[in-house]
Amino acid sequence: MLGASGCTAPAGRPAAGRFFTSHEAAVVEAATARIAPGPADDPAEAGHPGAREAGVTGYVDMMLGALGALTGPSPMVFAGGPWSNRHTSGPDPMARFIALDPVTIIAWRKRLDGWRNAYRDGIATLDRLAGGDFTAAAPGEQDKILARQDVSEFTSLLFEHTIEGLYANPEYGGNRGLAGWTDIGFPGDIQPLGYTPGEVERSDGRDPMANAGIVADVLKFLGAV
């Protein structure tokens, strides 16, 4: 629905990627869609793209697959700069990834080795807890598995990477069609345009929101601090 360019296959039929097998990609797609659901995953999200639509699986696959390319011309760790020209016209230097210095290569090899192992083991665990195939479990059952304490280390990592795949700059392979930013009304990187003094100083006007549901519960929790 937001364009087919990008690293992921259409929803429902994930293909093998840089790192994931096609089954592993399907498990990550199913799990991240429970963490950040879109219209197809939760009726409450009608009109609000989620992990599936933003291409989170492709983001994670691109990141984990960066290991093989760490010493190449453009390992996909640090997007370029100083801007993308997303709000202006011109080339996108952000899409040219930055070469890594030798110490940084050592750090990222270590980091990605750890994450790759965590994904291989974590995906196998989700499958096992679902009786063989996590993707075949009903959504409610998937939620129960993801909420289990004994998989929380992996689901925390999945959640962090879901966040990145939804809301990081799209050059990293997620946030497809700016789905993540659009859903929260965030313009993203704004250089070299910047903001006018008026946009900095003035109120955007009243925008009241209901103190209800999860917002109310979080505010109540914070207010007790």
Binding site: G50, A107, E199, G205, L222
Partner: protein, 567 residues
């Protein structure tokens, strides 16, 4: 003139390199991290690959150091082993140092900061002392730094309490830029509770300056490198140094030892050893020098001094480590989006909390068995970026939705943006006293990527810091409520960090002083017992002040070097 080695290219090292080169020295500047800039030694705009990218900066350590190769360890006190290995209050590790990620706030320390012992008296368990110079001595160097790097502010908007404790001879080089909606809203709350907010002095160009652009308020400010180089800071003295033709900048190279010769009064440095990583592994080398300047930031300078077995007659080398004791205040607005993502973060500040005579502070201190308390400067109106916001909800959902801490609840929180677009913050930069038990030592087991022992930090907030926070927390909440917040709360930052020091303000460890029995460096930063070794960073601080430290680091570095090289 001979050859000098400067270790570090940040706030202090850049100033040292500039001064030494101008006086005719050949200078080699070693920088542990990479160079993310182009055209530093040219004319006109400096180039960079910093960008509006919170993944690159906030998560992936683009400004370094990466804790997987350069970790530190932390323990709350010396009776327990280190209980954390990773990033501990890191400063950026790259050309430009801490002036790359800062949001360039440059308030001056007060007169009583430089004479905290004689002006305010002793504090139980703290190693209180005066600096070897007063505000009047350092003030001309503040002036010079402000002109050098470019600072915006308005002397006419500054409240009397600030001008009484940190008098100025004149106006700032540039006028203040646009004031953030969120900052102004919190400033209104500040006024309602008796605080005096004003435009935060900051080293950000509100108009073209030093051949660099004016800020266009992109909002990716605190914690980011500036994509348009509107706050070049250390890169300006570095450019002036390089353009003398006598300075060589060597990035991605870590000095591992200052080579010493002789003993007693004849002890001196002969140069440094270094190591550099290549694709084939580490390569080592050495550089001879007639003068060595340490400017690697408080923690790394101490680590290098320990690795080099510096003399330590006072026993204070590595002790009196100070972090600021931050208190985080939060205001959440349900009627309006405050859009703090636009503009230079926190354009307003208030300094009232640095005043030990603020109404009620003396009585509160006395009731808690202390002679006085001080908070510090308040940064008014900031928020956080999108990835940090999302991570905060990830954590909060575990407390509020333990059965299913994800899903549409998460996405509804993101759309509500109660912790970003509807948030306006207040950071209190709390005075952190010098304690002999707060130290940098070499970790006995953890090594960096080169196999060298890492810095082990021993630090926890003391009673003075905790009592100060308890005095100011209800006042911050009142301020936020008066600003119109539906929900307001404030906590010491260490509550959120599990006790780890936070805030990236690090000072002490190489204390300055006139008496070599009670200090590590002399009144101009020269290491006692080493004729030709100087320190030009925050490690020489005697007290932490109650203000962001970087311009004071630069002013002190300038004073140290100017003394060495009378012009």
């Amino acid at each position: 003139m001979g050859k000098a080695v400067v270790i570090g290219s940040g706030a202090g090292g850049s100033i040292a390199a500039m001064e030494l080169a101008r006086a005719g020295w050949e200078v080699v500047v070693f920088e542990k991290g990479p160079n993310r800039f182009s055209n530093i030694d040219g004319e006109g705009p400096i180039g960079t690959t910093f960008s509006n990218d919170d993944l690159k900066m906030g998560t992936r350590n683009f400004a370094g150091p990466d804790p997987l190769v350069f970790p530190r360890t932390w323990r709350p006190n010396a009776t327990v082993p280190a209980q954390y290995t990773g990033a501990v209050n890191e400063l950026p590790q790259l050309v430009g140092g801490g002036t790359v990620h800062w949001d360039a706030k440059v308030p001056r320390f007060w007169d009583i900061d430089f004479q905290q012992l004689s002006a305010l008296g002793p504090v139980p368990r703290a190693d209180m002392a005066d600096w070897p110079f007063g505000y009047a001595d350092i003030a001309p160097f503040y002036d010079e730094v402000e002109k050098l790097i470019g600072v915006q502010g308005d002397v006419h908007a500054m409240p009397a309490v600030v001008l009484r404790h940190a008098p100025r001879t004149g106006q700032f080089p540039m006028p203040p830029g646009p004031q953030q909606r969120a900052s102004v809203a919190v400033a209104a709350g500040a006024a309602a509770v008796g605080l005096h907010a004003f435009p935060f002095p900051m080293a950000i160009n509100s108009q073209p300056y030093n051949g660099q652009r004016a800020c266009n308020d992109c909002g990716f400010c605190s914690g980011y490198g500036c994509p348009v180089m509107a706050r070049p800071a250390a890169l300006i003295p570095l450019r002036l140094a390089l353009r003398t033709g006598r300075v060589r900048l060597v990035p991605e190279t870590m000095v591992t030892k200052v080579q010493l010769t002789g003993s007693g009064a004849a002890a001196r440095a002969t140069g440094v050893s270094w190591v550099r990583m290549t694709s084939g592994g580490p390569v080592t080398g050495a550089e001879g020098a007639d003068l060595v300047v340490l400017a690697a930031s408080a923690i790394e300078t101490v680590r290098l001094a320990l690795l080099s077995s510096f003399p330590d007659a006072s026993g204070k080398l590595g002790s009196r480590l100070m972090m600021h004791s931050f208190v985080d205040g939060t205001a959440i607005f349900l009627d309006e989006r405050m859009h703090a993502y636009r503009g230079r973060s926190t354009t307003q500040c208030a300094e009232d909390a640095a005043d030990p005579d603020f109404p009620g502070a003396r009585a509160f201190a006395k009731a808690n068995g202390l002679p006085y308390i001080r908070g510090g400067i308040m940064e008014l109106g900031g928020s956080q970026d999108v990835l940090s916001e999302a991570q905060a909800y990830q954590t909060l959902l575990r407390f509020t939705r333990s059965g299913k801490p994800f899903g549409t609840d998460f996405k509804q929180l993101m759309r509500s943006s109660i912790l970003r677009d509807r948030l306006a913050g207040c950071s209190l930069v709390g005075d952190d006293l010098p304690y002999l038990g707060h130290t940098v030592t070499l970790d006995p087991t953890v090594k960096d990527v080169f196999g060298l022992p890492v810095a082990r930090i021993t630090w926890s907030a003391g009673k003075y810091e905790q009592v100060s926070a308890q005095f100011w927390i209800p006042r911050i909440k009142q301020m936020m409520a008066k600003a119109g917040a539906a929900v307001a709360f404030a906590v010491p930052e260490t509550i959120n960090s599990g006790g780890l020091p936070t805030g990236s303000h690090i000072m002490g460890g190489m204390m300055m002083g006139a008496n070599q029995a009670t200090s590590v460096t002399d009144s101009h930063g020269r290491v006692h017992g080493l004729d030709n070794v100087y320190v030009c960073d925050g490690s020489v601080f005697v007290t932490s002040g109650a203000h962001n430290p970087t311009n004071t680091i630069m002013a002190v570095a300038l004073r140290n070097m100017r003394h060495l090289l009378p012009m």
